[in-house]
Point group: C2
Chain length 443, copies 2
């Protein structure tokens, strides 16, 4: 087999066989196939796409390139959830205890990640005492005991994906649907998921800027899931404005607690129930999606989900009292209100820009070495469609640094993320579509 | 400037500026831009093409990447000729003395090259005593004195092209018209040519298998010439069968001498006159192409071109007597006739396969280190369209090795290169089109 012949065939619109894809990925990880051939191949994939079978093969080859988590010691169907990333997205902290309360085992390894705010693991570390490092045995035992454990990613998961992603990043081959889809799915499969629920974001604050692109990515991932026998459902959701009002690590923990108490923001609550219902249904704990939705709604109402969160926090040595006393979480030194510059209606909120603001405040990491400030962030008082008066607070900044110059720059930046209209503006849709193996259902 | 941004823009159908292309090529040669980005860029060029301006910029950037030959010390317009490569192509040995006899200075640096037979420099070395190594001063002085010098390539011409070609070869990005065109033209420009005449081969024995592809390549090269102020004319010629009957180094020298004496094969003679006429016209030695054609035809008829060959050989210490006594050239140990396997008409001759046969006989190099046997090769007695009787000689093999097994394998191979028909077959066309800055003229 010669790599150049595989590139040539793909370049001309042909397909690679399963063996050829396995050979390519194994050779790339081992270093016998050089970067310059893999980047040329990735560019042919950008232009020619990949068949469903090729995409599934690539996914499995990448999943098999490193450690693979074995969850077979946990009884029941393990359902994992993944979000393609957005701003103010606290769903995992709500959904994980919710589905665990419904009896679906949650055995989640989560990354720290780079970006506007920390990853789930960083947010959990805002809880005093919480331990994200666990031995494999502790991890599995905890799930068997209380139905839920969330730990930091350890070991060498999908090194092929890491290496390929690094190469794609510098060769303009990131935005290829089959390459994005296989990258995401390879990690979920290597993490041991039997079924997968995806939250695919679309809009200004998301990687997929258009609904069509988001649907295409969702379809590609659902197809992979079907091909490799891991049933997958994707919900396409709006990221034109931040999902929840809170952006920041401790702030999002508080928001998750509020939501589990049934007092959370409407949109976040609705999406968490939707995702949790899909997970409960896929996990075999309900006969139909509607039944699952009723079930998780009831678990939120009757406090069982919040109890599960407390139990989970305590199992990982965190202070469970925070569920009733959020002021035990890290507190920022001071708050600053962001005044509306005019009367009118909020017509747009630039989620991505607010994410960058949160990072400037210290809530996220630009490089792996950066330390996160868990207390800082921002909280929106106004959403798209809300009427405002000039001078009214659009948002509150939670800050620990207060150099005058930086503060006024962050303030200006936050104001600039809001657009206004004179006439009333309709609330944007939260969910656009659900993609299952049976097709796309627009909402 | 970031390479990934340039790849991204090109990938999406945009153009790179002159500065960006210069930066890319300079960075690639210096090693600051890695192979994996350049291969991704080359793949975008494969799919998106390049504008005429981009292609010209790439050509100039590659020409400027190493040494550039300065021919300004030679009076007159320097016209170079290049053939895209074929089998049995002896044109340079005929055309160079012919145009020199017409007063167009020939200052040619020629490579040894790999392939079926040697390059022009190897063929010249078949002449006893001939020296292909000359100092720069000797080279220029000889052209000033007698109007012609042909020497081996020295120095570091177009290192960017060498590096890029090596990368394209292993990343399935060879067959891109703008990349091929800029590769060829960069070498001609770095060699100091003011005007360029190209012989673009098409057909089974050529790299461009179809006429359309050959015309596209020719147009791209003529466009580059126009963009960079080096007027270029391309003749598209047939390489379905070998151009001349002789394939082999000394054999082709003999064929060139025959042609300069007016006793050469019809096709080779016709093409040499055509190419020489374009060169004489571009070199400003005739007011019109037709006048140039008359001029070179007369120089062939009256022996002036043959005299110029003799003068040229002697100026480079070769034995000029060979023009009258070809048996002074290296002789093969024995000849073997290749019998026709049936009655009929020759319908096809596989030029590429015969080229490989010549290489098996020892006439060419597979690797740079191989030694060429200057005496061996083959000579076709039959051309496409010729009637044959079973047992009649299709060709003669000139051999120095005669292991029985190898000989019979070469014999079978030669026979297999001929196809036969029962009905008369039309002679194929020699020339298909001429491409100038004014457009394509089909013949």
């Amino acid at each position: 087999m010669r790599t150049v012949d595989l590139i040539h065939r793909k370049r001309n619109g042909g397909e690679l066989t399963t063996d050829e894809i396995n050979w390519l990925i194994a050779g790339y990880v081992q270093g016998s196939i050089p970067d310059y051939q893999v980047s040329a191949w990735a560019m042919t994939v950008y232009y020619q796409g990949m068949s469903a079978r090729e995409t599934a093969d690539l996914t499995l080859a990448m999943a098999a390139s490193g450690d693979q988590v074995d969850l077979s010691g946990i009884p029941g169907i393990k359902v994992d959830k993944h979000s393609t990333g957005g701003v103010g997205d606290t769903t995992t902290l709500v959904v994980a205890p919710l589905v665990a309360a419904a009896g679906v085992p949650v055995a989640k390894m989560s990354g720290r990640g780079l970006g506007h705010t920390g990853g789930t693991v960083d947010k959990l570390e805002a809880i005093p005492g919480f331990q994200v490092e666990r031995s494999k045995e502790q991890f599995l035992q905890q799930v068997r005991d209380i139905g839920i454990a969330v730990v930091g990613q350890s070991g060498n998961l999908t090194p092929a994906d890491k290496k390929l992603y690094g190469l794609r990043d510098v060769t303009a081959t990131v935005d290829s649907i089959p390459l994005i889809a296989s990258s995401i799915m390879s990690k979920k499969i290597a993490s041991g998921a039997d079924r997968i629920v995806l939250d695919v974001k679309t809009g200004k604050g998301a990687f997929m800027k258009t609904l069509d692109d988001a649907v295409a990515l969702a379809r590609a991932m659902v197809e992979i899931g079907t091909e490799v026998g891991r049933e997958t459902v994707a919900v396409i959701t709006n990221m034109d404005e931040p999902l929840g009002p809170s952006i920041g690590n401790a702030l999002e923990v508080i928001e998750a607690i509020d939501t589990l108490r049934g007092q959370g923001p409407a949109e976040l609550t609705e999406l968490c129930l939707e995702l949790a219902a899909h997970m409960v249904y896929l996990g075999g704990k309900a006969a139909a999606y509607e039944e699952a939705l009723q079930q998780v709604t009831e678990l939120l109402r009757n406090g069982a989900a919040l109890d599960k969160l407390k139990q989970f926090i305590e199992a990982q040595e965190g202070n469970g009292a925070i569920v009733n006393a959020p002021d035990l979480l890290p507190q920022a030194d001071f708050r600053l209100e962001v005044p509306a510059p005019q009367d009118g209606y909020v017509s747009e909120i630039d989620a991505e820009s607010l994410g960058v603001t949160a990072m400037m405040l210290g809530a996220g990491r630009a490089t792996k070495e950066d330390r996160i400030d868990l207390a800082v962030g921002l909280k929106l008082n106004k959403r798209v469609g809300d009427p405002v008066k000039a001078g009214e607070a659009l948002a509150e900044l939670y800050m620990n640094r207060h150099e005058a110059e930086e503060t006024s720059s962050i303030l200006r930046r936050t104001i600039a993320a809001f657009s206004f209209a004179d006439e009333p503006v309709e609330r944007p849709k939260l969910m656009y579509a659900v993609v299952t193996k049976d097709g796309v259902r627009y909402m």
